[in-house]
Amino acid sequence: MFKRKRSAEDFQAEIEAHLELEAEDLKGEGFSADEAQGKARRAFGNVRAAQERFYLKGRLVWLDKLWRDVRFGLRSLRESPGFTITAILTLALGIGANTAVFSVMNAVLLRSLPVSDPSSLVYLRTSNPPRGTGTIDSAQTFSYPVYDALRRQHAALSPLIAYVPLSANKVAVRYGSVPEEAEGDMVSGAFFSGLGVNLPLGRGFGEEEETHHASVAVISDNYWTRRFARERDVLGKTLYVNAVPMTIIGVAAPGFEGVEPGGATDFWIPLQDRRELNAWGNPPDDGKLYASDPSWWCLRLIGRLAPGVNRTQALAQLQPEFQAAAYIGLGGSPLQGEKPPILGFADAKNFPGYDEQYGSPLRMLMAMVGLVLLIALANVVMLLLARNAARQREFSVRQALGAGRGELFRQLLTESLILVSAGGALAWVFAEAATRLLARWAQIESSLAPDRTVLLFTLGVLALAGLLFGLTPLRVALAGKAELAIRTSAATSNADAGKSRMGRMTVALQMTLCVVLLVGAGLLIRTLRNLENTPLGMRVDGLVVFGVNPDIPSLQAGRAFYVNLLAKMRALPGVESVTMSEARLGSWESNNSDMMVDRRLPEVANGSSRTVRNNVAGPDFFHTLGVPVLAGRDFADSDNANSPLVGIVNEEFVRRFLPNVNPLGHTFGPDNGQVTISIVGVVKDHKYRSIDEEPIPMAWYMYAQIPVVGAMNVEMRVHGDPLAILPAARNLVQQLDPNLPLIQPTTQRAQFDTTIAHQILFARLAGVFGFLAVVLVGTGLYGTLAYRVSKRTAEIGLRMALGAQRMQVVWMILKDSLALTIVGVGMGVPLATLLGRALTSSLYGIQPLDGVTYLFAITAVAAVALVASVIPASRAASVDPMRTLRAE
């Protein structure tokens, strides 16, 4: 089809042969040679037309025409590189930003769990745990007896799957000789088969392996790539998890990294039954592991509805079983007046929690980039209009020379499409980079490759742009009349009031959107400022923190390990002081419970909470952190198992529970009343879980005095660069135990910053989009004004010839853009208040109606308008009246 079989020359030769044959025949019929030739030629008709038809038939005409149009379009775009580059960059930025934000939104909010048939999966939830239990999450975690009872109800959920992390953050693993850290879960045997996760390499494990607590592991595709370089012989290799050898038997399908949001699980092992591998990395409580401790609700549960059963039926069936199982080992029934827990289901179609975490900022970002896109599209439309209007004369001439309107339109459309394609291609490149940046924020990089949905979205936006730009030239193609070419005076050929009104409206609208974006960006950036400048109540600079999770065979051994560790750390050169705590500061981690004060539950005013946040600390804790001790003393080495139980509380604790008394000497303790601890110190309120939290009553235990010892976070105050101490610390820890990595070593400052990482990125992105909007509006305004001024050159020349002053001309131009600015700002401010209200939950230390922010946004837009107008205005004022008049 695409190749031409026959040359035009050959066809020509055939026609020549025909004419000769025909003439020959005619001669035979009695015509003279001349007559015969003439008659043959006449009989043939138009030779050239036949040749043309042959030529056209020989190829795909439309492709030919398209190619011609594209070449022409490229040539004409090359002639105005300024316009072309501006238009393409504008499109690329607008569309790229949208694609990037959309791909994150797609990955985070729209994509379902990478398992088979996610809609029949449900997370199990409970209204509350029974009294006397410890939980990880009061609504989401269950005890082993509950799991064991519910998994037998095959008619409701088939199967029910339990999964639980081996550590609150990361767990020590070793492959080869170097200890490192990874995220690992213990899971039911039915985990892979029940969820329907494929294992492209090796196999999963089953009920058998759960029952026997087999020492096998399945690793994630990401971990396989990261740690094992995708080597296929990884199967059969040994991975030491907390020094327990596990044989790697399979690799999970790419993209599957567990069923909880946020973290990315690196490996899974069957539910275990050994001290080193307790749920959450906790030390055995009273010698009991997770499976034998009905009072520890620590397992997460997910189940697949049995075929033909809906949620209501499944719940109805499970409820009595659940309420019975909840009290196994807890006395068998609820206490007097206690509300029994109620089982519930949560949708497992999408990652739960993602929506709460990222939903509203992402939607807000999407709205903001949507506005940026609008501004960008409007800009390009205006540029196209201006450019095409400036080419009016060219079009008229071409029409006068016989070009059809259709041809003209097709030509302009091709130019627009070239712009859209180039802009789209560049946008994709830009989006790739921006997506990676956003992925860091959402911490889901492994599964954030742009997929089909994203591609469709981008193509959709491009189609929109293409359509818009396709319609723009239509006007020109229809408006251009051949006779315009004849009356080509600049003064007469430009007086298209309607078009300029549309241009003005577009500019005003752009300014409106710009104000909205700038207010949004301003509010978020000021929020970030507030967060960054929030006093933490401690000296974080010079503090480094890392976790250790040693194997602890007994309470005594555990305490001895830490005493030894602290002593050795203190002796390291450059170390000022060392301490440790169970929950890491600035990691959102916390233990909360009601507490006895002076041996009874404290009286609290109506509605206020009795909850106390507690932590386990080491000696010199507050001194090391730089938290002022207001009364009493810090923990000391001398507080040990043989000395009286001591605790420290914060100001808020005293304010709430021990007002108007000297708190020293009073006591607190857990609400079971078994332990009483004397308050020996009161410290100033400081940030604990995160930067943006409000003070809450807190209490600290001394690690050497409580009956549980497990993983700890070591805090070191050092001279100089805090991270420089890590190699020495790592060495030291490995001398104590070669299996121990430093878990998540970082500076305390960076640790706290992770709690505002979302806000930081959100604000930065909003700032970038705001800036982008300003630049786009600036170029748009400049382009439009410059074009309008150039069209009015003749008028200005005339005015000046009639005595108008330079300043009057400048003012005439400026007045125009000032009016636009006022209209734009007038519409923008009310819209911005709407945005501000929507942002309220993301703001910190600032009101949605923050005057400074609004003033800043308005000033910025006005300044951009002014700068973009001054250049064309001064150019207009330097018009030489004689030259312009003569040009007419």
């Binding site: 055939e14 025909e22 025949d25 038939k57």
Partner: protein
């Protein structure tokens, strides 16, 4: 197809009929374009006017469709000419198109002479 003048009683060819006529002509044996035109004109008792330009375009079209093939040769009076001949595919097409054409003319007749004698109209 185009006519040169409408002042004679020759008939302009209907769209698509030229192809059929060419195929039919070539059934007699290989022939060059000018010969095809002459044969059509003669056989139709000069009723059809073959536009020579259209003829060559049509020949090319048929060649592209592989219904006919062509090669340069020498005419009876020793002139270079491009000779066309039917392919197997072309023969099939001829049979099919002839059938179509018969059905068409029959139908036209039925309408133009309702109840009349089929095909007897001069």
């Amino acid at each position: 197809m185009a006519t040169q003048d409408n002042n004679d009683d020759r008939i302009a060819l209907l769209q698509g009929t030229l192809d059929l006529l060419i195929l039919k002509t070539l059934l007699l044996g290989p022939c060059h374009g000018q010969g095809v035109a002459r044969i059509i004109q003669r056989q139709s008792q000069e009723a059809f006017l073959v536009d020579h330009g259209s003829l060559y375009v049509a020949l090319q079209r048929l060649e592209d469709k592989n219904w006919i093939r062509a090669k340069w040769g020498v005419s009876e009076n020793n002139r270079k000419a491009r000779f066309y001949s039917l392919t197997a595919k072309g023969r099939d097409q001829l049979t099919e198109k002839t059938g179509e054409w018969r059905r068409l003319t029959r139908a036209m007749d039925l309408i133009l002479n309702p109840g009349g004698l089929e095909g007897e109209e001069a």
